[in-house]
């Protein structure tokens, strides 16, 4: 624990060298990624705003009460939020562990949970579409599918990104670029969890309140 000092303390997932140029480069790269995913936050904020105006706009199609199943949404929540934990362990393994095996293990568990989440969500979407709830049936359903679907699309991209990182780990080992990408990927993964918490509260819980 005591061995962590200076620049390493500031970049929690990264065992950087003490080279000041490297620390500066990492700072600007990670900051750039923050700016990027804040633009994703703006996108989600807009989709939430649109969704917020739509719950009553069902035009005769099934509304939230008929469409949402709290049990499935709850299990999806558990899967996705749990997936942040192995990624946290991956960050620690990236920083402290001399062996790559543990890092690889957590980087396999994380997207596996994400893919399980996506599979359940996909099944939900298919059930809804079959049950007179397709995306083009009402404004409410359009807003629902674009908001929740956009989150699902981001999780899909994150899962693909994690698998690409596993391949890069096997080729390059833990070089600077791999470490940097993993730190950015972890930021994005945790960010999507936060968005899901908002979706679960605003879309599912609020939709099911009588």
């Amino acid at each position: 624990m005591d061995s962590v000092a200076g620049p390493q303390r500031r970049h929690v997932g990264l065992n950087l060298s003490d080279h000041p140029q490297e620390v500066r480069d990492v700072e600007s790269d990670v900051f750039g990624f923050w700016v990027f995913f804040m633009s994703a936050a703006v996108l989600f904020a807009l989709l939430f705003a649109v969704y917020g105006t739509m719950p009553a706009a069902t035009v005769g199609a099934p509304g939230p009460l008929q469409m949402f199943k709290i049990g499935a949404a709850f299990i999806e929540t558990l899967l996705l939020l749990t997936s942040s934990f192995p990624f946290g362990l991956a960050s620690i393994a990236l920083k402290r562990d001399v062996r790559a095996a543990r890092l690889v293990l957590w980087l396999v568990v994380t997207p596996a949970l994400g893919i399980a989440f996506l599979a359940m969500e996909g099944q939900d979407f298919a059930t809804m579409a079959a049950d007179h709830g397709a995306h083009d049936r009402s404004r409410f359903l359009s807003a629902f599918f674009v908001l929740v679907g956009m989150h699902g699309l981001h999780v899909t991209i994150d899962a693909i990104w994690t698998i690409v990182m596993l391949v890069q780990l096997s080729i390059f080992g833990r070089d600077r670029s791999v470490k940097l990408n993993l730190i950015r990927l972890s930021l994005f993964w945790h960010f999507l969890d936060i968005v899901w918490i908002a979706i679960f509260s605003v879309v599912y819980l609020q939709g099911l309140i009588q």
């Binding site: 690409v164 080729i171 390059f172 070089d175 670029s177």
Partner: protein
């Protein structure tokens, strides 16, 4: 047509010193065409119309005290290989040509992933190269015949403007 004429007459219209009409701002203070790193040293700006003022107080067309290494990105076609297919994908989405959207989306994503496997994204231009190129241009500028505003449309314009205090 504009491109054709520009390319056809490029030899007659060349003005390597880069300032054909006693311009004011910094983009005119370098060679035409400029080297890939643009400025040999980072210019210090203390006011408006820096280049215009520099020409009048003798600060323009001088070698730098110190030339430094310049870090440049390595040339890559990835931007084009992602951008054009992304445009084609959008076209497919707008007109509901699903095979086109899927195909070009895949091309863009595969290129993006392939790009992430590349290392060596930057290269260093040594200070000596920067200095040599800059001094060659300065020598060319010193040999150029200054051109007055009245004649700046003529082919004898080598890109060195005649200026008066």
């Amino acid at each position: 047509m504009q491109l054709t004429i520009s390319i056809r007459d490029r030899a007659a219209n060349r003005m390597p010193t880069g300032d054909p009409w006693d311009a004011r701002s910094l983009e005119w203070s370098m060679a035409a065409p400029p080297p890939e790193w643009n400025f040999a040293t980072i210019p210090q700006v203390g006011g408006l119309d820096v280049f215009y003022v520099c020409k009048r107080n003798g600060g323009a067309y001088r070698p730098a005290d110190h030339y430094r290494d310049i870090k440049m990105p390595t040339p890559t076609a990835c931007g084009v290989i992602i951008g054009l297919p992304a445009g084609a994908c959008s076209f497919g989405l707008v007109w509901r040509i699903w095979w086109m959207a899927a195909l070009f989306l895949a091309v863009a994503i595969v290129t993006l992933i392939a790009r992430s496997f590349m290392r060596e994204m930057t290269r260093i231009i040594p200070a000596a190269t920067v200095e040599a190129v800059d001094r060659r241009w300065l020598a060319q500028a010193a040999a150029a015949r200054p051109i007055s505003r009245q004649l700046d449309q003529s082919p004898s314009n080598e890109g060195l403007a005649q200026w008066t205090a």
